[in-house]
C-alpha cells in the first residue's frame, strides 16, 4: 500500500489553504506545507513566538538566533511581516484570527479529538502552544501517518493518549486519504491514488464513510 509521499501529503494540504490566509504550521512535517503552496497564492505564516510573515530559512551565515520560529530554528521575515509579544501572539490564536493551523498528531478521533502533546512515557510533560492552537485556530487540520510504526491505527474512535483538545480537528491528511472527523465516523474527502476504500477502512480505527 503506497499512497501519497510526505511531500504529496503536504502539497495536498497546501491546496486547501485559501489565498491570503493567516496560517500556523506545526513543527516538523506541517512545515513542508509552506514550501509546497500553489504559486498563485500568497499566505502569511504566524509563529507563536511573536512573528507574522515568516519567510524561508536563511543561509547558515545569515542566521540570527533572535529571529527563530516556534521550533527554535532560524527563519527570516517577509516584507509586510511584523513582530509582537507573546500575549499578542496568542491573542491572535485564542481570538480566532488564525485561519488555518496544521499540526502533527499521535492520534485523532472521528469526533475531532486530538492527542499530540504527550506520548504517555515518563519524559517530562511538555505542551507548548499545542493546546492554545487547537482551541483557538479557526480551522485545525492535521497531517499524520495513518498508522503507528507497529501498524496500529492512529485515526480512532477514542483517544488512548492524553487529549490536546476535544472536537477541534476538521480535517486529516495521511498517506492514504483526506478525511474529515464527522462525529462517530470519518467522512472520506479524497483517496490517495492506488488506495482502495476497503484498505483505508482496514487501516482506520473508526468507521469511514465515503458518502
Amino acid at each position: 500500500m503506497k499512497g501519497w509521499t510526505r511531500d504529496e501529503i503536504a502539497a495536498r494540504a497546501a491546496l486547501d489553504i485559501p489565498d491570503g490566509a493567516y496560517v500556523n504550521l506545526g513543527i516538523g512535517q506541517p512545515e513542508r506545507v509552506a514550501d509546497l503552496m500553489p504559486p498563485d497564492r500568497e499566505i502569511m505564516l504566524h509563529s507563536e513566538n511573536g512573528i507574522l510573515g515568516m519567510g524561508k530559512a536563511p543561509a547558515f551565515e545569515d542566521r540570527d538566533m533572535e529571529l527563530i520560529n516556534a521550533g527554535k530554528k532560524p527563519v527570516t521575515l517577509v516584507p509586510g511581516g511584523a513582530f509582537f509579544h507573546h500575549a499578542d501572539s496568542f491573542a491572535m490564536i485564542r481570538g480566532r484570527h488564525i485561519d488555518v493551523c496544521i499540526l502533527g498528531a499521535f492520534e485523532v478521533t472521528c469526533a475531532g479529538d486530538i492527542a499530540n502533546w504527550s506520548s504517555g512515557g515518563n519524559a517530562p510533560p511538555a505542551v507548548g502552544g499545542a493546546m492554545d492552537l487547537v482551541a483557538g485556530a479557526r480551522e485545525v487540520r492535521v497531517i499524520m501517518s495513518h498508522r503507528t510504526a507497529q501498524g496500529r491505527p492512529k485515526l480512532i474512535e477514542q483517544l488512548t493518549l492524553p487529549a490536546t483538545g476535544r472536537a477541534v480537528v476538521k480535517r486529516v491528511y495521511t498517506e492514504l486519504a483526506v478525511m474529515d472527523p464527522a462525529g462517530d465516523y470519518f467522512k472520506l474527502v479524497e483517496l490517495a491514488p492506488g488506495i482502495h476504500l476497503d484498505a483505508l477502512e482496514q487501516a482506520t480505527g473508526a468507521p469511514v464513510s465515503a458518502g
Binding site: 491570503g20 493567516y22 502569511m44 509586510g80 491573542a91 490564536i93 481570538g95 480566532r96
Partner: protein
Amino acid sequence: MIDKRCATIAQALHDVHDGATILISGFGEAGNPTELIHALIEQGARDLTVVNNNAGNGEIGLALLLKQRRVRKIVCSFPRGSHGHVFDELYHARQIELELVPQGTLAERIRAAGAGIPAFYTATGAGTEIANGKETRTFGGREYLMETAIHADFALIKAERADRWGNLVYNKAARNFAPVMAMAAATTIVQARHVVEPGELDPEAIVTPSIFVDRIVHVPDPVRESDHLAALDKERAS
C-alpha cells in the same frame, strides 16, 4: 496577491447590515474615523449598536450618525462633552439606549473579545452602581466584578499608515482604542492617511499587525473635528 485596499469608501462598507454592532475608534477628536462614519451614513444601515469612548461632538461623524437616528444603542464611558447636544437630546427624549462602561473596562472588554477571553474580573466599579446586576467574586480578600467580552460585527478605525496587507501605525494619541477594536470585530475597516507598500513599515514598530485588518481605504486629508466645532461655535454666536 493580497490587497486589502478598497477602490471606494462605499465598497468598504457595502455589507454593513441593519442591527450590526460597530466599534468606532477615537478619543476626543483624536483617531475618529469621520470619513468612514460619513460613508456609513450614506450606506444606510440602521438600528446599530455603536461602541465608542464618547457619544459624538457637534454634528459630524458619530454625532451626525446619531442625529440621523441610525443608532439604537451606544456603549461608552463618557457621553458628555462641550458639544454633545445631539446625544443629550436623544438621551433625554429616551430615543437612544445607553450602556455606560468605565473606560478601562471598556478597553479591556474589547481586547478580551479580540483575544478569545469570554470574561475576566476587575476591581473597577466594585461597590458602585456599575456593579448592579453583575456577578462579583472575591480574590485575595478584594471584591471584583466579572466583565464580559464585547464582540462586534465591524470596527471602523483611523490609522496614520497602512500597507496593503493591513499593517498599521497610528499618530500619537490617535492610537487610543483602535488597536483593540481592530482585534475584536469580525470585519475591521481602516481609513489611513497614507498607504504604503509592504516592507515600508518597520516590523518592530507595527502596532496593529495585518491579521487584524480586513479592508483599507485611503483618506489622505481627513476632516478636522476641531475646525467643525469652531465653525459651529461661530455660527451659534452670530
